[in-house]
């Protein structure tokens, strides 16, 4: 089962990546790729970075969504809409306003830091909620994210920067060019690093006491998980903008298919997440060519449909 889904995911990503390279406002014939220098340039400067951006952000968001759901012990939550995404936007906004001359790495570091604070705030906020009321967590997260989003809008309005916040709060890949997406590799690395602590995160999912009695350093693993979530969210929000739903739908899909043993499911989640963002981006390009629909909008539609399907489908051999 797992090998099959893994292969399916790989095949999907490969096919969609190829499509993504050759579909776009400028027509491109694969046969002229090696003869026409213009075509090669288009691929290298625009299409390949865009495809990689979709794969990296989709994969990383799916992985950190899964980690977040375990840390929050709730399946209806994802970092991007639950305050972390808005906190990243707030961080980059503040840095742009007050330290416009700061080097790019410093801006990214500050955005990651505000995201970290935002994520910790959320986890602290939902900790006392009763586990018997699982829907309270996403509701609180929604309100929390909304409040930080409102702060972002207010600060942007005061600083006369409202036209910028759209690029952070709604994800779009059409602006991705070589030299403007590379920060996403850091997101990809941070997501990949969670693989190292996958077992221990899985054990956290069994409860802090069970994890501790098996010798897991609960505080350290939680901190590492939150750090990965924050870095991925900050890098994606700042580079391509917030892409919702990936971190919600994909982890639910893989948990349904393969369970919650992250050592097994994280790679599958990463592939499915990459495939979903690729597919949504391609859809956004063809839906009213030559104009483009932002990927956050198409992901929202596709993701919502997928999520409703998952919610309403009968669970398999339930007890």
């Amino acid at each position: 089962m797992r090998r099959l889904t893994l292969l399916l995911g790989l095949a999907l990503v490969a096919v969609l990546a190829l499509l993504s390279l050759f579909i776009g406002a400028i027509p491109l014939d694969p046969r002229t790729l090696f003869s026409d220098p213009e075509a090669a340039r288009l691929i290298l400067i625009s299409r390949l970075p865009r495809t990689l951006a979709a794969i990296l952000s989709g994969g990383a968001l799916a992985v950190t969504g899964q980690v977040m759901q375990i840390l929050a012990r709730n399946r209806f939550i994802e970092p991007v809409t639950a305050g972390a995404g808005q906190s990243a936007a707030l961080g980059i906004l503040l840095v742009t306003l007050f330290l416009p001359g700061a080097p790019i790495w410093a801006k990214m570091a500050i955005a990651s830091l505000t995201t970290l604070v935002g994520s910790i705030g959320l986890l602290a906020l939902i900790r006392p909620l009763p586990p018997t009321q699982p829907l309270l967590v996403p509701l609180v997260a929604l309100v929390y994210g909304g409040i930080i989003g409102a702060v972002v809008t207010f600060v942007a309005y005061q600083g006369d920067m409202t036209q910028f916040i759209g690029t952070w709060l709604s994800g779009e890949l059409s602006g991705v060019l070589r030299g403007r997406y590379e920060m996403l590799w850091i997101a990809g690395l941070a997501a990949a690093a969670t693989w190292i602590i996958a077992d221990r995160i899985t054990l956290l999912g069994l409860g802090a006491s069970t994890a501790r009695s098996l010798g897991v350093n609960v505080a350290r693993i939680t901190a590492l998980g939150v750090a990965a979530i924050s870095v991925v969210t900050a890098m994606t929000v700042v580079t391509v903008g917030a892409i919702p739903f990936i971190g919600l739908v994909i982890p639910n899909l893989t948990a349904r298919l393969l369970g919650d043993n992250l050592r097994r499911t994280l790679p599958v989640s990463a592939l499915f997440g990459a495939a979903l963002v690729l597919a949504a981006d391609i859809l956004g390009r063809v839906i009213r060519m030559p104009f483009e629909v932002p990927v956050s909008a198409t992901v929202g539609v596709v993701g919502a449909a997928l999520f409703l399907y998952l919610l309403y489908r009968e669970p398999r051999h339930a007890a």
Binding site: L206, L214, H317
Partner: protein, 250 residues
């Protein structure tokens, strides 16, 4: 030996344990019994370092609780916590496999796999091994968590009300398994039980607690009496002896 010395504990300024001292030598089953709120589970979680020890000392063999590493203690002492709502979708085989975590730190070897299969067989979980935790009954779940604690291969095994929500067949078979482990594997088992009859039937020693203090301690036939039931539990229930074991007539 588990050695508990002058342990007091409060939760939110409410005193739960008062100067408790208790020695549990290696081997056999010791049952902690007492009315609700007597502090049994608190004592168990203090021994298992799941609650922070503030007053007093607890040691397990040479390891001092509060000073030893979690990872070292995990190889000596396993605990099956009171059933919590676990929403994780793990297969039973994976769950039992995670019991080996202290030994393999994420890289299971052949002996770990062997132990997992042996555990599944011993607990009769083989037919369910591929099922997810949310696809089996409450009783099977309890058994799976007990199996996980067993797979941890520790000389000491702590269980917090493992019979909760189990029917009579499942309760008896789990207690028999524990009995086997005590006798065949020489495990030292400390168990919080609600039902005095189960405690009297399967434990070698009963430790009775009331309002944070130990009020009786000894072999079941010495401890269980109508007077104890009245003094500790505040109920009038006759006790009779059957096969040299005390039985509370409920």
């Amino acid at each position: 030996m588990i050695s508990i010395r002058n342990v007091s504990h409060s939760i939110d300024h409410t005193p739960i344990l008062h100067d408790v001292s208790l020695d549990i030598p290696r081997g056999g089953i010791t049952a902690l019994i007492g009315p609700n709120g007597a502090g049994k589970s608190t004592l168990l979680s203090l021994v298992a370092r799941l609650a922070a020890l503030t007053t007093g000392e607890i040691s397990v063999d040479t390891l001092k609780i509060g000073q030893c590493k979690d990872r070292d203690l995990a190889k000596v002492l396993a605990i099956m916590p009171q059933s919590t709502q676990v929403s994780s979708r793990l297969t039973i085989r994976d769950l039992v496999g995670f019991g080996r975590y202290p030994w393999h730190q994420g890289h299971p070897g052949p002996e770990d796999r062997e132990k997992v299969e042996e555990t599944l067989t011993r607990f009769g979980l083989e037919p369910l091994a591929h099922r997810f935790l949310d696809e089996i009954s409450g009783g099977q779940k309890q058994r799976a968590f007990a199996a996980m604690a067993y797979a941890q291969s520790t000389p000491y095994l702590l269980l917090d009300e493992p019979l909760n929500n189990l029917d009579i067949a499942a309760s008896r078979s789990l207690m028999r398994l524990l009995r086997d482990m005590a006798e065949e594997d020489g495990k030292t088992i400390l168990i919080v039980l609600h039902d005095i009859n189960y405690a009297a039937a399967f434990a070698d020693r009963l430790v009775v607690m009331k309002e944070g203090r130990i009020v009786a301690d000894g072999k079941p036939e010495k401890v269980v009496s109508a007077k104890l039931l009245y003094d500790v539990f505040g109920t009038d229930a006759p006790v009779c002896m059957m096969d040299e074991r005390p039985v509370v007539l409920v």
